[in-house]
Amino acid sequence: MTVAPQEFSASGMALRTAAILFVFVIIFTGVLSAAYQWTKPAIEASAAEEKMKLVDEVLPRGDYDNDLLSDTLTLPPTPELGLDEATTLYRARKGGQPVAIVYEAVAPDGYAGKVKLLIALRADGSLAGVRVTQHKETPGLGDYVDPKKDKNKATPWIGQFAGLSLATVTDKGWRVKKDHGRFDYYAGATITPRAVIKAVHKAVKWADPQRDKLFARTGGTQ
């Protein structure tokens, strides 16, 4: 800037610069917090809608009539589900009766790290649906576990889980066909489906003995 050097000593110059920086910080902090406050309600509403869209993929909206996002149970970190932090389990009900639970699980042994899953389990113990919500699997190879990336749009790979339960599939059945199980896979990428199947199997097994508690059959919060 065009300031005559004689006007300010070194410390005066430093003070002046610091003051200007401080003013900029105050102004832009103000701008930021104003924008945050102003957009907060809309963002929260769309985040809830976003969650519902994800839930819609595993459980049809017509199957329940409660506000699923407010009927929840907080799960502590659960190694059986591959979760090392607390997550939320959502309960779907129709006429107050439990219909299904929607909960998260993680397959820790994907080809490129963790594969995050969203699982919907019906009150009778059968799977309503499974979706991959987050993964880093190789594009074009292992990523077909995500139906958006699956080339077979009509019957995506992940759809095989629908309707299965511990009662209808034995322990040995929860494997890909290559390992003598019942699940199809695409040649060239078996590590990812193996990890997903294992994680879903574990998640169903985890829920089975404590179904009464998870579904809150007695005295629900509704």
Binding site: M1, T17, I20, V31, L32, A42, E49, T138
Partner: protein
């Protein structure tokens, strides 16, 4: 105001001469990570155009109040604050678009292209010129990333515009190579991006060298050389 000549220089610099991706080689990290298909490349560039135009105009308007010694922290403050505001506004008002562009906007904060243009151009030029500089630098990035993304996609999986259904739900990706195309994984991984980017830089340098050679072979035209700079 802006003269025709100024506008042309800014546009030419942004799109070709000072192209961010193949001349300045800035912002390699998002470039390598994102251009696995043409749609991603285009979307990242669109978000960058928006952010660069806004941050350039903000810095150019405030440039007379920013002491030279602390310009970098102030620029970072302005860019980061504006990008966050854009991010919040997108999320709240244009949620569908946010879901597509959203992941790219925070990436842009870390992109050195924005800071480079703010420091190299907006800090020394009026707001209007700076806005155009931001836009055209972004347009230069747009065609480079779209081309790189399209080449990687075509070589890697034989399709074009994969993921377009995320932006326009009605459209389908184009299957250019037969379904039986086995795919070429290298093109989809970061090393493939480096190799193809290298080819694009070589192609640009070759074109420039050829243009220079042609200009030299022609008889000198003093009127033209005096006007250009």
């Amino acid at each position: 105001m802006i003269t025709r000549e100024e506008f042309r220089t800014i546009a030419n610099n942004g799109i070709w001469k000072q192209n961010t991706s193949i001349v300045q080689i800035l912002g390699l990290c998002p470039l390598l990570a994102v251009t696995t298909n043409a749609v991603n490349g285009i979307m990242l560039s669109l978000a960058t155009i928006l952010v660069m135009a806004i941050s350039n105009v903000a810095v150019a308007s405030l440039r007379n109040f920013i002491p030279h010694e602390i310009r970098i922290p102030v620029f970072i403050l302005i860019v980061a604050a504006l990008v966050t505001v854009v991010d919040l506004l997108f999320n709240a008002n244009l949620h569908e678009l946010y879901l597509v562009l959203g992941i790219f906007i925070p990436l842009i904060v870390t992109n050195c292209i924005v800071l480079a243009r703010v420091e190299a151009f907006a800090a020394k030029n009026p707001p209007l010129q700076s806005t155009f500089d931001g836009i055209f630098m972004g347009v230069g990035m747009l065609w480079t990333l779209a081309l790189l993304g399209a080449m990687r996609e075509l070589l890697g999986s034989g399709t074009l515009f994969g993921g377009i259904d995320m932006v326009f739900p009605g459209l389908r990706p184009i299957q250019l190579l037969p379904e039986s195309y086995p795919g070429f994984l290298l093109a989809l991984l970061p090393p493939g991006a480096f190799i193809l980017l290298g080819c694009m830089i070589a192609w640009k340098n070759w074109l420039d060298a050829r243009a220079t050679a042609r200009a030299q072979r022609k008889p000198p035209q003093p009127a033209v050389t005096a006007g250009a700079h």
